[in-house]
């Protein structure tokens, strides 16, 4: 019982300390500067509120903000610059919060509609995952996420099978094996691979790869998860390479030299010293690559069939139906009401999954840094 009150006390103390700190630092500053920054902050908050409320008067507080910032820049640059930089920092967090709220808010109607009763308790959104039918036109109208999740999982598995081994090998090549001139050629090459727009990949996949695959495997119609996965894997490859390369390069040179001095070959040093030391960084790279593969949209949209259903049998990757991303890109045009809301559910699933992957990989990287940091 004592613990929560203790924690609250500590919290109050901390807030007090922060406030004291702010007051101390303000006392150093000129009063006029503080007043200007105060006006700036107030005007910025007001324009944010106005913008959120869709008010046409938003321009008024925003004008005040611009004017006070301009005045502050001319007269009290020191404090104004710091305050502006702080506001800009906060904006990154704000954008993440806004994205979360807005896509969740739009998703609510269909989550309510697709409630299912389990043991007498109505669980909102459960039916989205319990049955595999997506039918937005004829009753019973059902918005199941199951086929799209199945598609996304298949595509991501195939893409990871392509991107992870090839990416790690390429990262090893660039950072450890290649002679300098070769590295200077391969590294920009990998970057350019990342630069090719996804729609161009999709276009080539659609015009060349899909017809070819239909021909080779005697498939009815066009569009296979298999080759979408391969193309997406190719697109996720540069992410894996660059992050894994950073991880491998961050292994202290002394560790490698120590191993080489024992008379091992380069390859032995790589497999028994470098890769194990960089293991967490390399797995973070793979996680980020998986995140890229999950979120890849245009290649999937252009190359898939656009019919939301499960393939038969479930492991039949020769037929490509629909993924979460392509569902959104294909249907936003004619969708309204519940169907539009269902697209936002797909967006929420994507967003949350990829955010978790991102946080997970950051956690792993932080652990690696603290582990290797001791030796540096």
């Amino acid at each position: 019982m004592a613990q929560p009150s203790n924690r609250a006390e500590r919290g109050v103390e901390r807030v007090a300390r922060v406030l004291r700190g702010i007051r101390d630092s303000l006392e150093d500053e000129n009063r006029a500067a503080v007043a200007t920054v105060g006006v700036m902050t107030g005007a910025l908050l007001a324009s944010l509120v106005g913008f959120l409320l869709v008010s046409s008067l938003t321009i008024v507080p925003f004008g005040i903000f611009v004017a006070s910032a301009g005045y502050g820049w001319l007269r009290h640059q020191e404090l104004t610059a710091k305050a502006l930089a702080f506001a800009m920092t906060v904006s990154t967090i704000l954008i993440l919060i806004l994205i979360t709220t807005f896509i969740f808010r739009e998703a609510i109607p269909v989550i309510r509609y697709e409630s299912a009763t389990v043991l007498g308790v109505s669980v909102p959104g459960l039916r989205l995952f319990l049955q595999p039918n997506w039918d937005a036109v004829s009753p019973p109208i059902r918005f199941s996420m199951v086929p799209m999740i199945h598609g996304t999982v298949l595509v991501t598995l195939i893409a990871t099978a392509v991107a992870a081994p090839l990416g790690i090998a390429a990262a090893l090549f660039i950072s450890e094996i290649a002679p300098a001139p070769v590295r200077e050629a391969v590294k920009p090459g990998v970057e350019i691979l990342a630069g090719i727009p996804s729609i161009v990949y999709g276009f080539i996949g659609f015009t060349i790869l899909s017809p070819w695959a239909s021909d080779q495997f005697n498939i009815l119609g066009q569009g296979t998860y298999l080759f979408v996965g391969v193309v997406v894997g190719l697109m996720a490859l540069p992410t894996v390479v660059s992050v894994a390369e950073d991880a491998i390069a961050s292994v202290p040179e002394s560790m490698k030299s120590g191993s080489l001095a024992m008379g091992t070959t380069d390859w032995q040093t790589m497999t028994s010293i470098t890769l194990p030391a960089a293991f967490s960084g390399v797995s973070a790279a793979v996680l980020l690559g998986v995140g890229r593969a999950i979120g890849e949209t245009m290649a999937a949209t252009v190359m898939l069939r656009g019919v939301p259903r499960l393939t038969e049998p479930l492991y039949n990757a020769f037929y490509g139906q629909e993924t979460l991303t392509s569902l959104i890109a294909r249907n936003y045009g004619e969708a309204d009401g519940l169907q539009l809301s269902a697209l936002f559910v797909a967006g929420v699933i994507l967003f949350v999954t990829v955010l978790f992957l991102s946080i997970g990989s950051q956690y792993i990287e932080a652990r690696m840094r603290s582990k290797l940091g001791g030796g540096q």
Binding site: Q77, M88, T92, I99, V186, I192, I199, F206, Y319
Partner: protein
């Protein structure tokens, strides 16, 4: 090492060279087979073409048998002491497991498909063979363990092809509800690809005399091959797009004074106008009935304004945030949260940004898809990239710079402005250029926020500068051009692909038009990358001097 053996045992020297020639030959043969199977997979080489009276597929089968035999013979020769090598006691756990899996699959397929055994039967066969191979490769000496499983598989595959069990016209219907089957035309090259890789690896290992050096060589062959194929894929992609796109792009090209359209720029009241000395209709025209040649000018201009808008939004915000994070804030909970947020934003799928723009920006900008909404959405995407790269650039500015400036009694902001920012500028600029390259090619976010038409007439070229006007009611400034839907290159390519064959607009050759659009998009995006990468090289060289 080798000189030592040579001087000690000069009689074996000639022998060693001959035998290592066998291994080198095997490596070369697998390289040829690898290239051949790639060629046939992409329908450059036809397996049916006769070579010296025999169909190519038979030659490939024979070559596989020879390759497998050579690998086995080398391994056995080494084991019996005819070849000087330094093998270890086993092929290693990783190689053992890999061989076991490969043989497990092969045995299972043969047992169930060729001999028609039931589930129990093929499972028993698979497990038996897999376990046997695992024991063989891990428990025997490395020269046997790493060559015999690979060589035997290659020879077996060669026999299967040679005897016509799998011929080019062979079809294996998988019998699934959604029909799919493996055809010989696909299976033979893939099997060849795989076993030539396996044998090439084993032969490379043998060539270097097994042991640590052998593993080193074997692994290096694979890693080099991987890097080579990545670069190869890149070159093929680019070359293919260029070859397909150029005819549409240069359609109607003319060179000479007065052939180009006239451009007019109004700058501070003075009007400057000039005529282009060349005429490249694809990037100078829209689509129209009266046009001699149609083009994608509106989409190009739309892309330019999108990028400008995104940069104007994201760069000040991002650089400011990076300044605060590196210079003002102390490392703690707050910076950690910001870091997680920026990295989270960086990996958020582009389509989610599109949904966000759709739900958040569109109702606030006149309830319609607009250039402004598209530019801001791309700005949200660009922001984390700018923060991350600017931060890295500022962190790499040595602390001595800051200390020296502070020692002069200069205030913190002055230090940032005149010491940190100039020093970090190259990194920041490079990061921004690369980031812009990425967002310029994005389709998904603008799909939901900006979207134009399939074939856009020249009259819809956005004129943002001329669009500003003042109004009497709030918000007092209005720009209908910014609030109109506009087209951009990636979106136009998407629209062209999905419009299908029927919609041809006024365009004579839609296919050519599509490829030319793809090429223009590629050129626009990759030129950002080229500039970014070149800038990084330049600045790095400057720094190193």
């Amino acid at each position: 090492m080798s000189t030592e053996t040579d001087s000690r045992n000069p009689l074996v020297k000639g022998d060693t060279e001959d035998t290592s020639a066998v291994a080198a030959g095997a490596v070369g043969l697998s390289a040829v087979l690898f290239a051949l199977s790639l060629g046939s997979l992409f329908e450059v080489v036809d397996l049916g073409t006769p070579v010296a009276g025999v169909p190519l597929v038979t030659v490939v089968g024979g070559a596989l048998v020879a390759l497998g035999t050579a690998v086995i013979v080398f391994g056995v020769g080494s084991r019996l002491g005819y070849v000087e090598t330094e093998p270890q006691s086993g092929a290693g756990l990783v190689a053992g497991i890999a061989f076991a899996i490969v043989w497990f699959v092969t045995a299972g397929l043969v047992a169930s498909q060729t001999f028609g055994l039931g589930t129990v039967g093929w499972l028993l066969a698979s497990v038996g063979v897999g376990a046997g191979v695992f024991v063989l490769s891990t428990a025997t000496r490395e020269d046997i363990g790493s060559t015999v499983p690979a060589g035997a598989l290659t020879a077996f595959a060669g026999l299967v092809v040679l005897t016509g069990v799998i011929a080019p016209e062979w079809v294996w219907d998988l019998g699934w509800a959604q029909k799919a089957s493996f055809t010989g035309a696909f299976t033979i090259p893939v099997i060849t690809l795989f076993v030539s890789l396996l044998s090439g690896w084993a032969a490379a290992k043998a060539y270097a005399g097994f042991g640590a050096r052998g593993r080193h060589t074997g692994a290096y062959v694979l890693v080099y091959l991987n890097a080579l194929s990545i670069v190869g894929v890149l070159v093929i992609l680019l070359a293919y797009t260029v070859v397909q796109g150029v005819p549409g792009l240069v359609n109607g090209f003319a060179l000479g004074p007065g052939v180009g359209p006239e451009s007019t720029v109004v700058l501070f009241g003075t009007t400057i106008s000039w005529e282009w000395p060349f005429y490249l209709p694809f990037v100078m025209n829209g689509v129209g009935l009266t046009n001699d040649f149609n083009g994608v000018l509106p989409a190009i201009v739309g892309t330019v304004w999108l990028v400008v808008g995104a940069v104007l939004f994201a760069v000040p915000l991002g650089v400011g945030a990076a300044v605060f994070l590196t210079e003002y804030a102390e490392r703690g909970r707050f910076t950690q949260v910001v870091e997680v947020a920026t990295n989270g934003l960086w990996s958020t799928p582009s389509i989610v940004f599109g949904l966000f723009g759709f739900a958040f920006l569109i109702p606030r900008f006149g309830n319609g898809k607009s250039l402004l909404a598209g530019a801001l959405t791309l700005g949200f995407m660009l922001l984390p990239l700018v923060v991350i790269t600017s931060r890295e650039a500022m962190l790499s500015v040595p602390d001595e710079y800051r200390d020296a400036s502070a020692a002069l009694g200069v205030s913190k902001w002055q230090t940032i402005r005149s010491v940190v920012l100039p020093a970090a500028l190259p990194g920041v600029v490079t990061g921004i250029i690369l980031g812009v390259g990425r967002i310029a090619g994005e389709t998904a976010p603008i799909l939901l926020t900006m979207a134009g038409g399939v074939f856009v007439p020249g009259s819809q070229t956005p004129d943002v500068v001329g669009g500003f006007e003042f109004t009497a009611s709030p918000p007092f400034v209005d720009n209908p051009v910014l609030l109109d839907a506009a087209s951009a290159l990636p979106y136009q390519l998407y629209a062209l692909i999905t419009a299908g064959v029927g919609a041809s607009g006024n365009v004579a050759n839609p296919d050519q038009f599509k490829w030319a659009t793809a090429l223009v998009l590629l050129v626009v995006v990759l030129s950002f990358y080229a500039v970014g990468i070149a800038a990084r090289y330049y600045f790095r060289r400057e720094l190193n001097q």
